[in-house]
């Protein structure tokens, strides 16, 4: 797999079928439905239990907004991933081009997926810090690899965008 920055896009080429499938798995992996720990992590409370009013208002007004925000990001990513559904031979290497303007959506979707998977398998800090774990011998190992692979992509996108978007005035 090769990843590089072209003019207004990030190009991931020489994607073998295994990595292409991991990429296709971003949107479904980002869905916390049916995983209470993941749901709790993605929609964590804004304050402690003592601030019941703040938490109740948040649930009512802010949480639906956050759901929409996260869903929009995964939909954008799902749209970009359609490039991988070509009619080429299924074992051929693929190329994926991510428009630079979709970088934030990718960062969000990759983060959602990583958080959901980590919550689902309850990975320990040690496991998450072990980037050289191999070989993949179980579904858990595969999921940890998935978390790290998505993290690698996030790092690349971050490096390319360099946090250069203008922040609001203080």
């Amino acid at each position: 797999m090769e990843i590089c920055r072209r003019k207004d896009e990030i190009e991931i080429s020489e994607l073998d079928p295994f990595l292409a499938e991991l990429l296709r798995q971003i949107p479904p992996s980002a869905n916390p439905e049916g995983v209470p720990a993941a749901e709790q992590r993605l929609f964590s409370p804004p304050a402690n239990d003592k601030e019941a009013k703040i938490c109740a208002e948040w649930k009512l007004y802010v949480e639906p907004e956050l759901r929409r925000l996260f869903q929009t990001a995964t939909e954008t990513v799902a749209g970009d991933l359609e490039q991988l559904n070509g009619s080429e031979k299924s074992f051929a290497n693929r190329t994926l081009r991510i428009p630079s303007k979709h970088a934030d959506a990718w960062l969000s979707a990759l983060n959602q997926a990583r958080l959901v998977i980590a919550a689902k398998y309850n990975f320990t800090d040690r496991e998450l810090g072990d980037h050289f774990r191999s070989p993949i011998g179980s579904r858990r190992d595969l999921s940890l690899f998935q978390v790290n692979f998505y993290g690698f992509l996030q790092e690349f996108i971050l490096r390319e965008s360099d946090g250069s978007q203008k922040a609001p005035e203080d």
Binding site: S44, P46, A47, I54, E65, L66, D125, R159, S161, A167
Partner: protein
């Protein structure tokens, strides 16, 4: 030579007694604590999944902090488990927490003190 000015003494009425001024009435209102403009803090908590570079970028974007300051806060979160990113009026603090949740960071609103 300085001229002596005629000084008109302030008329003092004998037996007038000390002048008295009514004290203003100060109303002490009792307001619920939540209405007071106590400083509120925006706290970010440690999370083993979010990348350090990602957290730094989010602090830069949300608070407009320069990279060094953003990194300092990120390291504080990483090493101490939490960092106070901002404190001030509740409404603004809520907005910051909302933005941080939008970036999937573990952030809470706390009363300062």
């Amino acid at each position: 030579m300085a001229q002596s000015a005629a000084i008109t003494p302030f008329p003092v009425t004998k037996n007038a007694g000390p002048a008295t001024v009514d004290r203003p009435t100060i109303e002490h209102e009792t307001r619920p604590e939540e209405d007071l403009d106590l400083p509120w803090q925006v706290v970010v908590h440690n999370d083993p999944v979010n990348l350090m570079t990602y957290v730094t970028m989010v602090f830069q974007r949300v608070f407009g902090y320069p990279r060094e300051k953003a990194e300092r806060h990120m390291l504080e979160v990483h090493q101490k488990g939490r960092s106070v990113l901002w404190s001030g009026m509740r409404e603004r603090a809520e907005l910051y927490v909302q933005q941080l949740h939008g970036y999937l960071l573990l952030a809470t609103l706390e009363k300062a003190g």
